[in-house]
């Protein structure tokens, strides 16, 4: 059999088969169309359809079971995702509230500071100047702060600066609308002080240390100085009014071989980050009862700014 004959036979077969398929297709299409027409015009066929669907009930039940499982899995993931979303929202809210809470704590501290400043102001005379510190310290090695009140508002050089806890420092530069105050912890600052318990006088020198501690030099080694003693300003020198809290003795180093002891004082005022301060005008408090004789105070040692 040649190749051409074989192809011809295959074509004939295909055509014949195609024709029969076309006939079958036509028949089925007519039947289907007839079914459509019958269903559309004879509602009674719905009963037949009902019977057919009855047969399919197990199939539908199986599918429902399967899709129920699918929906369950889907629901699980949906619940999971909604829980995660909720968790995220709650975390965000918590963070926001945490920030609010922190601000609240800051406000509370500020409020307390302002209240004590107010009390202090009432004690020291009402014409004092309230100032706030500005976040500017050009030389970190020096302990000083910039205040938002200058000569225009009445700030002047040598003006005592007091915080809610006690003495902060003194104004060393007065610009027009700002001023610079040297803190008592600066290495160039000296402050005449007095022990509240014994009345012993001394000079508190700034150390320039980061912990803002003050040093009491030249205190005789036999002097009654103990840890926890409170120091107040003595009023000597006429710059700082007497009786202002300066700090608490934190450490006493007394060597029998030495003529003087060394005492370190922790300042009462917040020198790390003072916010609101009072600039005292020259109306000092009436000198507090100065117990005991003056002892250990250098006559010329007034508060000094460099």
């Amino acid at each position: 059999m040649t190749r051409g004959t074989a192809t011809l036979k295959a074509d004939r077969f295909r055509r014949r088969k195609g024709l029969s398929r076309a006939g079958e297709c036509l028949l089925i299409c007519l039947l289907s169309f007839g079914l459509l027409v019958v269903e559309a015009n004879f509602p009674a066929i719905q009963k037949v359809r009902g019977i057919g669907e009855l047969i399919l009930v197990p199939v539908q039940a199986t599918v429902r079971l399967f899709s129920g499982g699918f929906r369950g899995v889907q629901g699980y993931f949906r619940d999971q995702s909604s829980l995660m979303r909720e968790n995220r929202e709650l975390r965000t809210r918590l963070l926001r509230q945490d920030v609010d809470l922190q601000q609240m704590a800051v406000l509370k501290t500020e409020n307390e500071e302002l209240r004590s400043l107010h009390t202090l102001n009432a004690q020291l005379g009402s014409n004092n100047l309230t100032a706030e510190t500005l976040p500017a310290n050009p030389d970190p090695s020096r302990h000083r702060v910039t205040l938002n009140k200058g000569s225009r508002q009445g700030a002047y050089i040598g003006q005592p600066v007091v915080g809610s806890g006690g003495v902060v420092g003194q104004v060393t530069r007065d610009y027009l609308v700002t001023s610079e105050a040297l803190l008592i912890s600066d290495a160039s600052h000296a402050l005449p002080v007095m022990f509240e318990r014994t009345g012993l006088r001394a000079i508190a020198l700034g150390t320039g240390r980061r912990d803002h501690r003050l040093l009491l030099p030249f205190v005789p080694s036999h002097a009654d100085v103990i840890q926890g003693d409170t120091l107040v300003s003595s009023g000597a020198g006429g710059l700082f009014p007497a009786g202002l809290r300066v700090g608490v003795v934190e450490d006493v180093r007394n060597s029998p071989a030495e003529a003087f002891l060394e005492a370190f004082v922790s300042p009462s005022a917040n020198l790390e980050s003072p916010r609101q301060v009072l600039l005292l005008r020259s109306e000092p408090l009436p000198p507090a009862g100065e117990p005991g004789p003056a002892n250990g105070e250098s006559p010329g040692a007034a508060a000094a700014g460099s």
Binding site: R21, E24, L36, E53
Partner: protein, 151 residues
């Protein structure tokens, strides 16, 4: 072809029928592919000896019962589809892949066109947008079938 292979082919058509009534998530529901049509196209191309018009009509009739469409609608469409696919098969299998895909899409479009036109005539509401969605998702299925199933 063995009996097992025949059973497997018909099982595939049955599975397509079942999947077509599985409720999909809302987003995918709009893109419900014409599972039966794709399965029948695959059957015609992969196992033409099993792709009988009567089988297609029966499967279509079952789909009518399952989805609640007018009786005979999917039977008619499935019959037309198998007829077209069977007649175009020699051309399809000898064509390059892109043309093969294009022809399969043409057959699918004809199937969906029958469903919309005839269904619309008998009050079975179908939208052209839905048909377009079905055509696209069906196209994706056909691509997958051509790529991963032996055609």
């Amino acid at each position: 072809m063995t009996d097992g292979a025949v059973a497997r082919n018909y099982a595939l058509v049955g599975a397509a029928l079942l999947i077509s009534i599985v409720p999909l998530p809302r987003l995918l529901d709009l893109w419900q592919p014409p599972w039966l049509a794709v399965a029948l196209i695959w059957l015609v191309l992969a196992a033409p000896e099993n792709a009988r018009l009567a089988v297609a009509a029966a499967a279509g009739l079952l789909q009518d019962l399952l989805v609640g469409s007018p009786l005979g609608l999917y039977a008619l469409a499935a019959t037309v589809l198998v007829f077209l696919a069977a007649n175009m098969r020699p051309r399809i299998v000898s064509s390059p892949p892109w043309l093969r895909f294009l022809l399969a899409m043409l057959i699918l479009a004809a199937y969906l066109g029958v469903v919309v036109l005839i269904g619309g005539w008998f009050g079975y509401v179908g939208s052209w947008a839905g048909i377009a969605n079905s055509l696209m998702s069906g196209g994706v299925l056909i691509l997958i079938a051509f790529l991963f199933l032996k055609v």
